[in-house]
C-alpha cells in the first residue's frame, strides 16, 4: 500500500477491509481487522525513520486529543502520530475543559464537533465513555483508554511488537502479570491475543486476578515461577499503589516477593522470551532495573511501535469518517 500518495484504488481496497469510523476496543474486531491494522502500521513504520517524518494522509483534518484522565505517554504518542499524518491537533485536558464547570461529556463533545473536529481521541476514567460518544457523534472516536475496560491502541502496539520480534503471534504463550482486574491494557491484550491464536496466562495476586477471567478463554495462575519457563512473552503491568488502600494485596514488598520479575526470576525465562511493559514502570516493584534495561526487554520498542500503530488507526478510521 502506498501511504504518501494514497491512490483511489488503495482507498477502495482499504475500505473493503476496514469500514469502522471508531476504534472502541479489540473485543469487537475480527482477527482480519486486527491484522489489517498491523499491516497498515508496517507501512507507516518506515515514515518515522525518514529524514522528513511526515505524510499528507490526514492533511486538512482536525484531531482533538480529549484526555479527561491524565496521560502523558499515550497523549503525546497520538499527537505525534497525528502530526506525522499532517492533521491539525489540539489537546484538551480535564482541567482545561468545561467538564470542571459542570458541562456533561456529551455537551463538551458536541461543542468540539461543532467546530468540525474529525477525530476525537478520548481517554476517560469511565468504562464505556468512548462508546457513549461514538453513538452520538459523526466524528471518529478513538479509545485511548476507558476505565478498566479497553485500551485498544496499547494492545495493538503490543501485538505489533510481538509480531515484529517473533514473526508471528499464533501459537505463542504470553503471560500477563500484575493488576489484571483494574487493567484496560490486560483486557485489550486478552481479546487481541486470543483472536490471533495465542495462549494467554494471567498471573498475579488472587485478589487482582480473579478466576472469573478464565471465562474469557485464558488461563489463570498464581505461581509465577512455574509459568515463566513456559512463556514466549511476559507483559508486566504496573502495580498501582493507590489500590493498596482497598487492601487488594498486603504491600509492594510482598508483591515483589511473589510476583516481581526480579533478576533471579528472569533467569527462568527462555533466552528468546520478550519482556514487555506498557509503562510507566516501577523499578524494583514489578520489575528489577537491570531486567527492564536488559537484552530481552522491548519496552522502548513498544513506545516506538506505538507511533506506527496509532498512525495506522488514525489513517483508517479518519478515512472512514468522511466517506
Amino acid at each position: 500500500m502506498k501511504i504518501a500518495e494514497s491512490t483511489p484504488s488503495s482507498n477502495t481496497e482499504s475500505a473493503l477491509r476496514w469500514n469502522r469510523k471508531d476504534l472502541l476496543g479489540l473485543r469487537e474486531l475480527s482477527s482480519q481487522e486486527i491484522n489489517f491494522i498491523l499491516e497498515t502500521a508496517d507501512a507507516f513504520e518506515q515514515v518515522g525513520t525518514r529524514e522528513i517524518k511526515k505524510v499528507p494522509a490526514l492533511r486538512g483534518k482536525t484531531l482533538v486529543n480529549f484526555f479527561v484522565e491524565p496521560s502523558t505517554r499515550t497523549r503525546t504518542s497520538f499527537e505525534l502520530a497525528a502530526l506525522r499524518l499532517s492533521a491539525d491537533v489540539i489537546n484538551v485536558s480535564a482541567t482545561s475543559s468545561s467538564l470542571t464547570k459542570g458541562e456533561t461529556l456529551k455537551d463538551t463533545a458536541r461543542n468540539l464537533e461543532a467546530v468540525h473536529a474529525d477525530i476525537l481521541v478520548l481517554r476517560h476514567s469511565s468504562a464505556g465513555a468512548p462508546q457513549f460518544l461514538a453513538n452520538r457523534l459523526k466524528a471518529s472516536v478513538i479509545n485511548a483508554g476507558d476505565g478498566a475496560h479497553e485500551h485498544p491502541t496499547q494492545a495493538l502496539l503490543d501485538l505489533y511488537t510481538i509480531r515484529r520480534k517473533r514473526g508471528k503471534i499464533s501459537g505463542l504463550h504470553i503471560a500477563i502479570i500484575g493488576d489484571i482486574l483494574f487493567s484496560r491494557v490486560a483486557r485489550s491484550n486478552i481479546f487481541g491475543l486470543i483472536k490471533l491464536g495465542a495462549r494467554v496466562t494471567l498471573v498475579g495476586p488472587s485478589t487482582l486476578v480473579p478466576r472469573e477471567f478464565e471465562k474469557l478463554g485464558v488461563e489463570v495462575s498464581y505461581e509465577i515461577d512455574k509459568i515463566l519457563p513456559t512463556v514466549d512473552v511476559v507483559n508486566l503491568l504496573r502495580i498501582q499503589h493507590e489500590r493498596q488502600r482497598k487492601e487488594y494485596f498486603p504491600g509492594t514488598g510482598e508483591y515483589t516477593r511473589f510476583f516481581g520479575l526480579t533478576k533471579e526470576r528472569a533467569k527462568l525465562l527462555k533466552p528468546d522470551c520478550l519482556i514487555m511493559h506498557p509503562g510507566p514502570i516501577n523499578r524494583g516493584v514489578e520489575i528489577d532495573s537491570e531486567v527492564a534495561d536488559g537484552l530481552q526487554s522491548v519496552i522502548l520498542d513498544q513506545v516506538t511501535n506505538g507511533l506506527a500503530v496509532r498512525m495506522a488507526v488514525l489513517y483508517l478510521c479518519g478515512g472512514i469518517a468522511t466517506t
Binding site: T104, S126, A127, A129, Q131, F132, L216
Partner: protein, 429 residues
Amino acid sequence: MSATIVRNGRVIDPANKRDEVGDVCIQDGKIVASKSEIRNPESEIEEVDASGLIVAPGLIDIHVHLREPGFGHKETMDSGTRAAAAGGFTTIVCMPNTSPAADNPSTITWIKERVASAACVNVLPTGAVSKNISGEELAPIGSLVQAGVVAITDDGHCIQNHELMRRAVEYARMVDVPVLDHCQDYNLVGNGVVNEGYWSTLLGLPGWPAAGEEVIVMRNILLAELCDHYIHCQHVTTAGSVRLLREARRRGVKISGEVCPHHIALTDEAIQNFDTNYKMNPPLRAQADVDALLEGIADGTLSILASDHAPHADFEKEVEFDAAPFGIIGLETELGLFVDLLVHKHRRVDIVRLIEMFTAEPAKLLKLEAGTLSVGAPADVTLLNPDLEWTVQIDKFESGSRNSPFDGWKLKGRAVQTIVGGKTVWELD
C-alpha cells in the same frame, strides 16, 4: 351520592378467596354487598361493563419514588400518580429519600398536603429510619407514625451499623410499623455499579457482588428473629438471598421479600452497550439468579411484587455509565411485565396469585384496609385484561421521566381501567 356497578367481570379478590363471574357494587366510594344496598335511583348508577375482564382489588405498589419534595424535575405527585393509575395501581407507597428527606413529621404533613391536591391515586408515605437517611441516628420514628407513615425505610441507603438497625426494628415494633430495607453492604459493594460476574469482568465495570446483598438479608433475618418484628427486604435479586429467605420463612421468622420486574425480565448481559437504562441498584443479575427469583415467587418465598419506580431526567441518565444515577421507571410497565413473564411465559403463578401479590400480600405487610373488595373497603378497583397484547411506547407514558429499558417490548396483559374511591381515574383508550 355516587354509585357504580362493575358488571359481569371475573371478580378475583384473594383476601376473601373469591374468584367468580359477578358484579362489584360501589356506593359513595365504598364497596357494598349488592345492588340492593345502592340508594341512588337507577338512572344515577354508573354501569361499567367488565365482561371478559378481570375485576381485582386496586393494585398496590409498595416501592415508588415520587421524588417530591426536592426533585420535581424527575417526577411530581401529579405525573407519578397518573403513571400509577395508567399502570393499574390505586395505592402506591412513596420512599423517603427526597430533599429534604422524609425524616420528620412536617415533611410527612407536606407530602400529605401535596397528595391531597395533586394525586389521583392513594399515596402512602414512608418515613426514614435514620435522620437524613445517613444511617447514624434514629429519626423520630414514633412521630413519623403519628404523622401517618405506613412503614419506615432508608431505601436507597442501608444502615450499616447493625446495632442501630436492631434498635430501629425494636422501636418500630412498639409503634407497629414494618421496616423496609434496601439490602446493601457498603464495604462489599464499594463503588460497584453492575453485577460482579462475567460481564463486569469483561467490561471492566466495578462489580457489585451478590454477597453484598446476602450479608444484609442474613442480618435482617437475624434481627427480625431477635426483635420478633417484621423486616421486609426490598428488591431481592440473588439466588443466595432467596435461599436465606426461604429457610427463614419456613421457620416463621417475620421476614419477607419483594421482586422488581426488571430483575426477572433482564440479566446483566444487557449492560454490554453501557446503556444507563440498564443501570439500577441492586443491579441486573445473572440467569441463575433470575431462575432462583422465579422459583422463589412460585413457592411463596418472595411474596410481594413492586416496581422500584425511580424516575430520572434524560440529562441525568445520558452520561457516562459510572456517573449515571441508578434506577428506572416502572409503574407503567410493571403489571404487563409480571403478567407476561410470570403467568404466560414462565407459568410460575396463576393470575389469582399474581393479584394476591399485588393486593392482599402488601396490604397484610403494611396493615392497609386497601387490597380487598370486602364490603366496606375503599372502592379501589383495577380492571385488567391478562391476555391483551400491547407494545410499550415510552413517549406515551404519563410519568415525568422516560428512563425505561422496555421501550418497544411486546407484552401480554395490562390494566384497562383504574377506579379509586369509586371514581375512574384512568381508562385505556
